[in-house]
């Protein structure tokens, strides 16, 4: 049980070494009171790639492709600096709001963008912890909130529906 899937990064590095390309989906837990927008149990999907000469432009390229695949070929990707302790430099990732095609709506708070992921270059301390030499290798990592993606895609307005086993909800999928 963990609060994020990022801990698996180090486990994967220890098990497989470099180079490495891995996808990590999983259930995560947070100490959070539940309401329509907050849940203590949800799902994340994380990706990590380690090789010689992996760089920030690659990270941006990969996330761009993911966005186009998920939300259509017109989808744009935007990065803004954000602090996550296990990446440096760190960034968030926003895609064109697919509900309003970037025009601005209630869901994207009129920005035209949806904050979907966190990403960055793997912190050298994380590489070291995984037994990989940060002088030789570099890595990129990104993580999505799967639950959030599903909610946005299907316009689900109450996160608790995903975990309460109500057939009236489940049978719609």
């Amino acid at each position: 049980m963990r609060t994020q899937t990022s801990n698996v990064q180090v486990r994967a590095m220890k098990k497989y070494g470099a180079p490495l390309k891995v996808i990590i989906p999983g259930r995560v837990f947070r100490c959070e009171a539940t309401d329509a927008r907050h849940e203590h149990t949800f799902y994340q999907l994380e990706g990590i790639m380690i090789d010689k000469k992996v760089n920030f432009a690659h990270l941006k390229g990969i996330c761009e492709i993911v966005g186009k695949k998920l939300y259509g070929p017109e989808t744009k990707f935007r990065m803004r600096p954000k602090f996550y302790p296990f990446v440096e430099p760190g960034s968030n990732g926003e895609y064109t709001c697919f509900l309003c095609q970037g025009k601005g709506c209630r869901v994207c708070k009129n920005t035209g963008w949806l904050e979907i992921l966190g990403c960055g270059l793997v912190h050298p301390e994380v590489l070291k912890a995984g037994g990989i030499d940060p002088e030789e290798y570099s890595g990129l990592a990104f993580g999505f909130g799967l639950t959030r993606l599903a909610m946005l895609k299907y316009k689900i307005d109450d996160v608790r529906l995903l975990m309460n086993g109500d057939e009236r909800f489940l049978e719609q999928f």
Partner: protein
Amino acid sequence: MLLSLNWLKDFVKIPKGISPEDLALRLSMHTVEVEGWSDQSVNFNGVVIGKVLSVDKHPNADRLRVTTVDIKKEILTIVCGAPNVEAGQFVPVATIGAILPNGLEIKESEIRGEKSFGMICAEDELGLGTSHEGIMVLSKKAKIGQDLSEYLGLDDIILEIDNKSLSNRSDLWGHYGMAREIGTFYDSELKDYNSFLEPEIVSAEGKIDIKIEEKQLCPRYMALSLSGIKIEQSPTWLKNRLIAIGLRPINNIVDVTNYVMFETGQPLHAFAKDKVEKIIVRLAKKDEHIETLDGKERELSEDMLVIASPEGPIAVAGVMGGRLSAISDETTEIILEAANFEAISVRKTSGKLGLRTDASMRYEKSLDPNLAETGLRRAYALIKTICKSTETSSAICDISNFSLNQGPISLNMEWICDKMGQEISEKQVVNILERLGFIINKNEGNLEITIPTWRAAKDVSIREDVLEEIMRIYGYDNIISSAPLVSLNPPDILPERILEKKIKEILSGSLNLTETYNYSFVGESQLKKLNLDFNNYLKLVNPISDLGTMLRQSLIVGLVNNIKTNQFNYDEVRLFELGRVYLDTPGMFDKTGDDKERLPYQEKRLAFVLSGKLGNYFFEAKGIIENLIETIYNKTWETEFVSVEDFPAYSDDKKSTRVRVGGRDLGLVTTINNEVATKYGLKNETVLVELNFAELLFLFNNCKRLQYESVPKYPAISRDLAFVVDSGMLYNDLRREIKSFNDLIIDVELFDSYQGGKLGEDHKSLAFHIIYQSPDRTLRTEEIDLIQNNLIVRLEEKFNAQIRNF
């Protein structure tokens, strides 16, 4: 945190033509997330200054008056209820169409028969204070018809910053730090903050008696005593700045400490000197408590750092001051404190007390200890400006115990470009870093970078941190994305995921079950209702609710609960879940990092539930398992249902069985017994299946691969036989016996089961199709008759099975 644009402009020039949207976007793209911005004057749209020309009694109401007010454009008749309205006053007038900060929209109205074309406002109606004593009377210098926002100087633009995005940047918790960022990304000059500080504080005779007992928790403590203080309201400019960022002005001294905190990020505190004989920075003692400035009595614990006088605590360090030592209207001498407290200690204390303050929020981000001096000098400069009689009445006290690692960090351009994935010029890099305050020395192709103190406390320590500084100012948006050039290796095949997917497809497909997820947490009441013993369940230290105090050890608990959720909406509910349970035995993952202790075993299970009033769910559940096992293992094994003694306490043992495949125990089929069903409130028969996924996976890794066998050349012949046996007999035992009786019998299928009627309750009839086939010849009737007769004899001998006569 709120930022005032006017305040930022004190320090940095914002290029012409930059709109608030531009600024908010650039801040978001380079530095921190801006949640929104607002124009302060919007609050006063339609509110203008008017001069009261006449005041007359309202003909129909004693307490109301009818006034005429000149607002330059026109003269309005306004009905007013305030006792203090008089002719000749200058007053704020909300004209028709104005929307006040409290949401009130001004309309033409009729009050007790008199028409009114606007409203003369009180302070609270304009969001400028709490007074509702009467209308706000403005200075005679006000201009008739002038916008109120202009008159008040409340024409600022306010930016709202998301505090979470500031959590790693202690230097951004004040306007000056933000101005530095703005200056950097607009490439615009930033004023030297030294020009805002008191150049030299003239020391006076006298020392403040200070003792720091906890040097680790208090890296720096500065204090200065000031006399000649006159406590009064702050000047308007100062009040307006505080109002703009959402603070309530209190008095000149408190306002200055707040002002400096929101400008530099350094929290300050002012003690009334006559209440503080000596200052001791120490841990709280057992059973100590303090009344904080907010008037609440607070229990302190021994891990909390306090500022104390010999009588007891006078402030919770870094969190909030105490009431006893607070300044009052009579105070004439103060001790101004500018200290640095250790981040984690402040965070723990503030968490324990449930008291998050502007000061504690800053300390817990690790402030630069050098900022204490900046803050003190700035505060002194301001106090002297607004309270001219101020004199220092002590020497500056400065006790410090800190060191910062300012580097230098060495890196070169090749490394930077490699990590970015594109070219950037050295000139650009140097410009960005210098504007942010880094000092750069070029040394044989390397850049030796010294970290400014305000970034050295926790934030920047390795070259990757410097890379982020360069990149975020350069703009992530300016990075051209590219695809990595890497070796293309086929991924490892993960049988676990393949099997999971297969199982989900089959169950939710042809077997018509719905997949669900339940929480990993269960509560006592649920388990009790199921007669489950939860002694060895893992308990949560800090459960979110009574419904989730323990970790589940079975998936069926959640599924039974799902039946309750759904049984009133559906005649039949069919759900499955694939998930983990948490057992009180060591698992595979290391817990402590040194492999001495392991995390609990988190076993994966597959469970499903059938409940309703439409079928025989015990039989159906067994059928589902058989079907699943046959499909996922390519008919390698047959499913066996084994009767055992020991079923869970919630089950009806007669309709429960263990599941065996390939000689391995997979799990259980159980039917909820009537007692539990009643207790739990289940309306219908409920059958539960729970299988161990690790066992399913083991079999999956060892099952037959699908392979073609030649199509039989000779025909198969089917014969039907029905046997009467004891009602307790398992059909599978009979079927297996038939199947293995002769090589020419290639398949046996049960097609009917009947109990009762003429047979009585003790017996049942089981009818089978028996298929005969030979790979090398067409079977003759006599040959089959012989086998069949021997089979009948054999079954009679072994099971006392009688051929049923219809």
